[in-house]
């Protein structure tokens, strides 16, 4: 039996995985009983990205988030449609740069926290003084 491999699936323009689509049997011999159970290989896009329209991938530069398991060179999946809350790992715009921090919102205080003692936290008067670019949902950590 031979199978025809369907087109490669990519998402949001960024290809994470190749997937095998709907194998089409060519008449030759007894059909495989596994045929009925094949629904395609695991598609990382489907599991890692909830809203492709507003999700971007960014690359991490620096070590200030090591404590959160986010290392230099890792890729972060960032959803811009999510509302940031206390504890979110966010990409914020600081001095014209996309910057990764842990957002802390406590009584009357908004803090952009680093996850590395060697880097200081940044205190902001109010959430409205901040431009939150997006909320990180996953880290593709290189092991």
């Amino acid at each position: 039996m031979s199978v025809v491999v369907g087109p490669r699936v990519i998402d949001a323009g960024v290809s994470l995985v190749s997937a095998l689509l709907s194998p089409v049997p060519v008449a030759a011999g007894f059909p495989s009983p596994a045929q009925d159970y094949f629904d395609g290989r695991i598609d990382l896009n489907a599991h890692l990205i909830k809203d492709v329209t507003s999700t971007y991938v960014v690359r991490v530069s620096g070590e200030s988030m090591e404590g959160a398991g986010i290392s230099d060179g890792d890729e972060l999946i960032v959803n811009r449609a999510l509302r940031p809350t206390d504890g979110s790992v966010v990409v914020a715009v600081l001095d014209g740069e996309l910057t990764i921090k842990r957002l802390r919102i406590t009584a009357g205080k908004v803090i952009l926290q680093s996850e590395n003692p060697r880097y200081p936290d940044i205190e902001v008067p109010a959430l409205s003084d901040l431009t939150i670019w997006g909320v990180a949902t996953r880290c593709l950590h290189h092991v």
Partner: protein, 432 residues
């Protein structure tokens, strides 16, 4: 409201477009460009095709050649960028996908603007306009303005007004503005400012005493038809509030073709979506064949209703086709890539496909008699893989393989990273 109940629910048109689209797309990934003069150059870095407001303020005109601007760029702190078509194309698709959530009746008019059919009370329409504007800004990262009016021509005018008058905060619902103010605006703007009136026609209009938009709106439509054309008559009627330019559900252009509808009853199974995809695949094939075009990329999407805040789901896939095609079987099969994303039980209110990267199909058919399609396919895949890994221009057939020296390869010396389409060019986020 003094209007009869029927009138209040007449469908209206929302015109949405991105402010300084190319420059805004660059700023979305490079916030340091915010507040600085930015221009984006045309093909081969020829001339300025997008100017940020700061660049306009420097006196840089639309279409000014780069060689004239370049000598003063440094002193101005001007940032000039080559056209990053990969980035703009992706951001455009995202904006259109998002807009599609607000109306099943979406006409993609160009890379950065669309018309949407909308309905409801004025307060609802104003809220909807603001919601659209805020969502595109927050979820995609680019600023838009919205104009809502009974006709396309008025919606465009309302949008322009919203852009130029900060009082509107980016959203203008035409009928919410007092009549006297609307009249004043139309008196103050020359006819050339209206959508569909070409420069060469303005002189003839002026000769008839028609100078402002208000003059044109007050003209006799029959006289205008006799002296000009049916097209100009439609513009007059549209200015008077009668919709004459219908929404086009799909539009063939050099960029894309969209087929999308909302369902009367939500579809809740992958089998149902499969049927819809098959219909669209064939429609797209027919439409492409009619225009002698082939597509290189297919996007399939579905979505729950914007009005149902629970169980929201917007699955979408983008499938590069193995070769440019208008083959219904290939297109339908590609569209089926969406099916694994469909969750049974979720109420999908709409679905559609979009074919992009369109090209004329005539190019290869005369030779196809002599080709072995499988051979051809393998070479195509090989080339694609090599190009993907080592970059465009690294390999090619015949003349296509020559890397330098040919003057038709596009010059893009000031190209920003292709942030959303190339893994090696992702935007950097600082952890420092």
């Amino acid at each position: 409201m003094s209007k009869p109940a029927l009138m209040r629910h007449m469908p209206q048109i929302a015109h949405v477009d991105v402010n300084c689209f190319y420059a805004s797309a660059e700023r979305a990934f490079n916030p340091s460009l915010e507040g600085k003069p930015v221009i984006v150059l045309s093909n081969n870095d020829g001339c300025a095709v997008t100017r940020s407001p700061e660049a306009k303020a420097l006196g840089i005109g639309m279409g000014d050649p780069w060689f004239k601007i370049a000598p003063r760029a440094k002193e101005w702190g001007l940032i000039a960028l080559s056209s990053n078509y990969e980035l703009y194309g992706d951001i455009s698709s995202r904006v259109m996908e998002l807009l599609g959530r607000y109306s099943a009746w979406l006409e993609v008019y160009s890379i950065d603007e669309a018309f949407l059919g909308v309905k409801g009370e004025p307060t609802h329409l104003r809220t909807l306009g603001r919601e659209i504007k805020d969502a595109v800004r927050a979820h995609i990262g680019v600023p838009v303005c919205v104009g809502i009016a009974p006709t396309k021509t008025l919606a465009k005018l309302a949008n322009k007004w919203a852009k130029n008058n900060p009082g509107f905060a980016g959203v203008c619902h035409w009928e919410s503005v007092p009549t006297a103010e609307r009249q004043r605006l139309m008196r103050s703007l020359p006819v050339i400012e209206i959508w569909g009136v070409a420069t060469r026609l303005t002189r003839r209009l002026n000769a008839l005493g028609i100078h402002s938009i208000h003059d044109l709106a007050a003209a006799n439509p029959v006289m205008i038809r006799d002296r000009f054309s049916v097209v100009m008559m439609r513009t007059v009627l549209e200015l008077q509030g009668s919709p004459c330019i219908p929404m086009e559900e799909e539009r063939i252009g050099k960029e894309k073709l969209i087929f999308s509808r909302s369902f009367a009853t939500p579809i809740t199974t992958a089998a149902g979506v499969r049927q819809v995809m098959s219909v669209y695949g064939q429609q797209a094939a027919a439409r492409l064949a009619k225009h002698d075009q082939q597509a290189k990329v297919l996007t399939a999407f579905a979505g729950t209703s914007h009005f149902n805040p629970h169980d929201t789901s917007y699955p979408a896939v983008c499938v590069p086709l193995p070769m440019p095609t208008a083959d219904p079987v290939l297109l339908t099969r590609a569209a089926h890539a969406l099916l694994p994303r469909i969750v049974d039980g979720i109420r999908y209110a709409r679905a559609g496909i979009m074919v992009t990267d369109l090209r004329p199909s005539g190019n290869q058919s005369p030779l196809s008699l002599f080709e072995n399609p499988h051979e051809e396919r393998h070479i195509g895949t090989l080339l694609e893989n090599v190009t993907k890994r080592y970059g465009r221009g690294s390999i090619g057939l015949g003349h296509g393989g020559i890397r330098q020296g040919l003057n038709w390869t596009m010059k893009r010396d000031m190209l920003s990273p292709r942030y959303t389409t190339h893994w090696d060019e992702l935007p950097l986020a600082k952890a420092g």
